[in-house]
């Protein structure tokens, strides 16, 4: 699996055991706190960290993440400050930038995605997720990523099948972001059947599968990984902690602690799920029928 991508660090993250992939919007609610929060994720066991670069029209996000992006924008987040953040933040996990295509396209003086990717690479970003960029329009970005050694992650939905799935999977690298259910991001309490079906559908593709959308607790993480996921992506549940911190006027340290704690719970859940899966696989292997 690991050699499917450009980024060794990302491949590494999936190499032994499930990857816990948390997401936060950079600059939410301000630059410094945001740094503390991202570092807390790292301490909490993140294998990869997705950093949201806020765009003014985040059509793919649920209201939780939309709120985070608005806060970050209002606090002055820009692509350049984002890159500075990536350079400054003190974490071990590889960083993936999640943003919308217009910001990538407009960056720098030259038109097209290349300047953005070049700068991202320089800032130590290992991969990109662009929720409004379809595979059909992705070739220029794909090329730039290959040139600068970044992975390009795509999202597949429960409804992504047949040709579309092939088209996406032929362009993906690093990992595929498996959308757990229809709808946009937002923390929910159950685990969807759609997830299982998606994972089944993706079995034949040789790239790590990270499931996201709606994961909010260790137990969910466990079930999803037990169901076959190579990693879990968690956004809204973490952003909720930041939002609550703003509302309740909590200290940065307290919010960071909570983020770290939830991260630990999720990571442990994922590991439990992984262990369960391994066990099940072993028992099937030893007791064939």
């Amino acid at each position: 699996m690991a050699d499917a991508g450009n980024s060794a660090a990302i491949a590494e993250a999936f190499a032994d055991g499930p990857a816990y992939v948390p997401y936060l919007a950079v600059g939410d609610p301000d630059y410094e706190s945001s740094k503390a929060y991202v570092e807390a994720l790292d301490r909490g066991g993140a294998d990869i960290i997705e950093l949201g670069l806020p765009f003014s029209e985040p059509i793919a996000e649920g209201s939780t993440i939309q709120g985070a992006l608005v806060r970050a924008l209002e606090a002055g987040m820009t692509p350049d400050r984002f890159f500075a953040f990536a350079e400054e933040v003190d974490v071990e996990a590889p960083l993936v930038c999640m943003t919308y295509y217009n910001l990538i396209y407009q960056y720098g003086s030259e038109s097209g995605p290349r300047p953005f990717v070049e700068r991202a690479a320089a800032a130590g970003i290992e991969g990109l997720v662009v929720p409004d960029l379809p595979a059909e329009e992705a070739d220029p970005l794909r090329e730039a990523c290959d040139e600068f050694g970044l992975d390009l992650v795509f999202i597949v939905a429960p409804t992504t099948v047949g040709d579309r799935l092939d088209r996406i999977m032929s362009r993906v690298s690093g990992y595929v972001y498996v959308q757990a259910r229809l709808g946009t991001t937002g923390a929910r309490d159950d685990v969807s059947d759609q997830t299982t079906q998606s994972l089944d559908r993706l079995r034949e593709y040789d790239v790590p599968k990270a499931v996201g959308f709606g994961i909010s607790a260790g137990e969910h993480a466990e079930r999803i990984v037990a169901g076959g996921a190579d990693g879990i992506i968690v956004g809204s549940a973490l952003v909720d902690i930041v939002a609550e911190g703003v509302e309740e006027d909590r200290s940065t340290a307290e919010v960071a602690d909570r983020l770290e704690a939830l991260s630990r719970e999720l990571k442990e859940g994922a590991e439990r799920g992984y262990a369960a899966r391994a066990e099940a696989a072993e028992s099937t292997a030893t007791e064939p029928r």
């Binding site: 765009f55 059509i59 793919a60 929720p131 379809p134 429960p158 409804t159 992504t160 229809l182």
Partner: protein
């Protein structure tokens, strides 16, 4: 009826000319267009593309006949092409008004809303959603949904709801649910995001009726094809009434649906100049710092970018963040524009112009007073263009009156109050609103 019936063969032929075919196959208008949407929406968009090709282009199950019949009977088509006697005199040229203000609901919006709701029915969808800013597209969709017996939910920013209560009431009277969107500033942008969010979760049984020639393919071509009835009629009417094609066609442009509707059938007539009039707002200068463009002249001043599913011309800052646009008319107040118009402007086929708030308001009063037609403030921009540029126009000008101004009485009072406008009536009794 005669206008649309008589030239049927012509029309079929015309519908195959390059200008009418553009974008139908792949959703591309040169570098513009495309389908920049979250993967979760792709199946819906592919299903819609397929339905568009079968029903709208292929006329499967007699879709086109039913659409035209309902547009005629329910919508009131054809709308007249009226000679404006006093404007003609004023500008010493023949001025004709294409009277979309007479369409059911009071604007061209129904052409599209009815087409899409009917298409949703043909597709077996059971639910309609739409976004609305000022409420014009929302009311048109609510009417079409009631007419076709489809449950309908309209997303509207909370701030817009408070500014447009009569339109909210009209939607509710038509049986639609109006869902307030509280995120962000509570305006159109947030309503669009929220509607996309709903759609992403409900694609299987729900159709999202986009209100202009924007968004991912197939919306720009499909909305254009539904709105093209404006120019199909106007072209035949101009030939019949005035003895030939117009020299100029003028339409305001927000997203650009009345614009492309008025242009579509003339795009291949090279002798016809096409003028897209955008809202120049208070000034064309932008405030980069605040991310605010006090206008919505995306064709005239915008740069290429990706917004709401399509690559097109946008009002954005140097980072690519979308600017807050501004106009006296809420229907033009949008930072993007249809990709087809962006393309036609780059090609030099469409002339982009900006008309500012003052000139638009004067146009509003001028048409009301001299022709007995109170236009929408959106349309008023096209009339402002006429006043400012009539000397550059040919001898037969068609202006698309995209809607009536009854919805704008409050805004007209407020804005007229701030200015000194010759053609305005004595406003003293209205200061403070109606």
């Amino acid at each position: 009826m005669s206008e649309t019936d008589t030239p049927t063969t012509d029309e079929t032929e015309r519908r195959r000319r390059p200008g009418r075919e553009r974008g139908r196959d792949d959703g591309k208008f040169g570098r513009y267009g495309g389908q920049y949407v979250p993967e979760a929406l792709m199946p819906a968009i592919e299903e819609l593309t397929d339905a568009y090709e079968r029903y709208v282009l292929g006329n499967e199950d007699g879709f086109i006949e039913e659409f035209r019949e309902r547009l005629a009977d329910f919508g009131g088509r054809p709308t007249p092409l009226q000679r404006a006697d006093r404007l003609s005199e004023r500008y010493d040229t023949e001025v004709f008004l294409k009277r979309e203000d007479l369409l059911h609901g009071g604007a061209h919006k129904l052409n599209n809303a009815l087409g899409q709701v009917l298409l949703a029915k043909y597709m077996g969808k059971e639910r309609i959603i739409a976004e609305t800013g000022a409420g014009q597209h929302g009311t048109a969709t609510a009417m079409a949904a009631a007419h076709l017996d489809m449950p309908c939910t309209i997303y509207m920013g909370e701030r817009d709801i408070n500014r447009q209560r009569p339109n909210v009431f009209r939607m509710k009277l038509n049986g639609s649910e109006v869902k307030p969107v509280t995120a962000g500033r509570g305006t159109l942008k947030e309503a669009i995001s929220e509607t996309m969010r709903d759609w992403a979760a409900t694609v299987e049984d729900t159709h999202y009726v986009i209100g202009s020639i924007v968004g991912p393919h197939p919306f720009p071509v499909m909305v254009r094809d539904f709105q093209a009835v404006i120019s199909e009629e106007a072209r035949a009417q101009s030939i019949e009434k005035a003895g030939g094609l117009p020299t100029d066609v003028v339409a305001c442009a927000g997203g650009g649906s009345n614009t492309m509707g008025a242009f579509a059938d003339f795009v291949d007539d090279e002798s016809v100049a096409l003028h897209a009039v955008e809202a120049g707002g208070s000034t064309l200068e932008v405030d980069e710092e605040a991310g605010v463009a006090p206008n919505s002249a995306s064709l005239y001043t915008g740069d290429e970018g990706v917004l709401h599913g399509a690559r097109t011309k946008l009002l954005q800052d140097s980072d690519g963040q979308i600017m807050e646009s501004h106009s006296i008319s809420s229907g033009l107040d949008y930072a993007g524009v249809g990709p087809e118009l962006a393309y036609l402007v780059d090609e030099g086929r469409v002339n982009p112009v900006a008309v500012d708030d003052d000139a638009a308001l004067e146009g509003f009063h001028r048409l009301s007073r001299t022709e007995g037609i109170i236009p929408a403030l959106e349309t008023a921009h096209a009339l402002g263009f006429l006043e400012e540029h009539h000397e550059d126009l040919g001898e037969r000008v068609v202006v698309n009156v995209s809607g009536r101004g009854d919805k704008d009485l409050d805004a007209a009072i407020e804005e007229t109050d701030k200015r000194d406008i010759d053609e305005a009536p004595d406003m003293s009794m209205f200061t403070g609103g109606i």
